[in-house]
Subunit: 193 residues, 4 copies
Amino acid sequence: MKYYAFLLFSLIWLAAPIILRAQSKPVVLVAYYSPSGHTKIMAEAVAKGAESGEVEVVLKPITETTEDDLLRAGAIILGSPVYNANIAPAVQEFINSWPFEARPMKDKIGAAFATGGGISIGEELVMLNIIHSMLIHGMIIIGGEETEAAFGASAITGEGEFAGKPVQEVFLIKAEGLGRRVAEMVVKLDTSP
Amino acid sequence: MKYYAFLLFSLIWLAAPIILRAQSKPVVLVAYYSPSGHTKIMAEAVAKGAESGEVEVVLKPITETTEDDLLRAGAIILGSPVYNANIAPAVQEFINSWPFEARPMKDKIGAAFATGGGISIGEELVMLNIIHSMLIHGMIIIGGEETEAAFGASAITGEGEFAGKPVQEVFLIKAEGLGRRVAEMVVKLDTSP
Amino acid sequence: MKYYAFLLFSLIWLAAPIILRAQSKPVVLVAYYSPSGHTKIMAEAVAKGAESGEVEVVLKPITETTEDDLLRAGAIILGSPVYNANIAPAVQEFINSWPFEARPMKDKIGAAFATGGGISIGEELVMLNIIHSMLIHGMIIIGGEETEAAFGASAITGEGEFAGKPVQEVFLIKAEGLGRRVAEMVVKLDTSP
Amino acid sequence: MKYYAFLLFSLIWLAAPIILRAQSKPVVLVAYYSPSGHTKIMAEAVAKGAESGEVEVVLKPITETTEDDLLRAGAIILGSPVYNANIAPAVQEFINSWPFEARPMKDKIGAAFATGGGISIGEELVMLNIIHSMLIHGMIIIGGEETEAAFGASAITGEGEFAGKPVQEVFLIKAEGLGRRVAEMVVKLDTSP
């Protein structure tokens, strides 16, 4: 009897670091607002890119994202559609609801993605709107892997070559790259709380 | 009898242009959102500056502004506080609710004002957020009279020399100048519908 | 003898308004900077769109644009390539050289166009960089005809569907629409000096 | 003889880590462009804030900054005056000259500061112009310590309470805080090459 107790204890002891390590994996939160579904498709690509053995990825619409999700996260990647060249009001309200006293969001990694219905009518601005608010929260800002995703990942869904089609591969690649870079950076910086 | 009828008819005839002109005075709509009261103070200064015999000034919080107010206006001057470096969500929702089909806002004059609690933490961005959305609506954008009010009128209420005081004169002057310039331009362009 | 002199005098008298009117046609200046040639192609489309019997169109690279060209113009449409998400330094220097004392650029119409090598990496920002400087000069800002050209006309030449091809039709249409709208507006506003 | 040689060898051996560590201190480069002298004053405050035993601070005007300075730096804090609401052309040219092939600037920390002659006429935009270009280079962006320095540090020198005075304390505090935060972050991230 005693022997088994000892064995169990030993196993737990040996496994503890692995268990704790698993628990303390940095969290990458991918939050999105997507009435049309396009931003959700991008969010899924961002999450896919972030997946690796070293981070925990949480993918949620902003309406289901809790304060605990925010506080647990070492990195937050936030996506919004473009409405009249600016961030969706619901997404701005979400950011405005983040805890501010004692500045718990400070030094977390922040990144952005956006979807818009036309070329050059606000995709840059929406990614930058998000980044500006994240800077007010004291976050550390990074863009995607490629120069073409410098402000984050954007997708255009309603004009020219992009009209009437699902979100194109060229944009999904940017989204995956963004997720991947943020995941690598959150491990490197260890910004988890 | 006939004589009087003729006299009355003549008077109406003579007065008609004056009456019609009075009715067709261009409308300057000053709309604002102001939970703290600072943006309202700026809005009142904008409205004061716009007052002249040649325009009708309508001053309203966004919650009371109707589609009819928007359509009647030849110029819209819109004010928002700064929240996390961006436009207040309520103001963005207001803009997003403007009629878009057939683009009835096109060729109206648009201008912006903003109030913020610190220096260089979003006053420029909020005025520009508003301007960007107005450009999507096809509006004609102007700033204030002075170079220092180039993007519209801004006020800072919570930092350095400006902390703990009412909205300072230097900002109210910009607001009045903005109203005055827009009023002059709406008469010159005759953008009333 | 006397009779002919009278006839000649009469003819000149009658023709004068027509001659003067022709001379006083509002000027639309299309100025551009184009090391790669793409921005020049857009400039030509803008100029083509602006052509009408009612305005004089002047199309020039910024290096050949004189102060007299600027002062004569009722509207200025300025184009720049995107370099690292911002306006080309040469274009900014050009704007910084515009006359400022007595603010002679005030109340002229201003509009912008841009070309970039990737999607959402600065086309919006370059058009807005130009617009911001024009607002400092007190200019009246308008965008293109369509919502998709709200900030002006942009072209993307180096990514995805747009890579390795000449400037695509979808962008040239925006450029022409921008020229056309500015030309119509400069006649309506009569901002010529 | 042999004994002394051994002693010397031992001392070098023991001292090596300290020497190497001193040599490998992360470098914070503070680069500025300052025709009027105001931006230089801010640069000096940024450098002062960055000073600590753990980093090497290099303070230089952009004209004296070499490619080697850029490549050695783990963090770059760049300052520009506001000209017509945008970055000084010389500063933009400086950024455009940074090495781009193989993206050696990627994952360095970037931050910005700005000085302007009026309130809300481009200080935010200049800091953001710099940040946008840094994002194109793939840099990691942070702002200052306080919310009021979220985009970096700005100073206003020519309007209202700030006219005709040297750069005010409220702005120098922001500049020092920016230097301090960047210095701490460069140690934490170890972004030195």
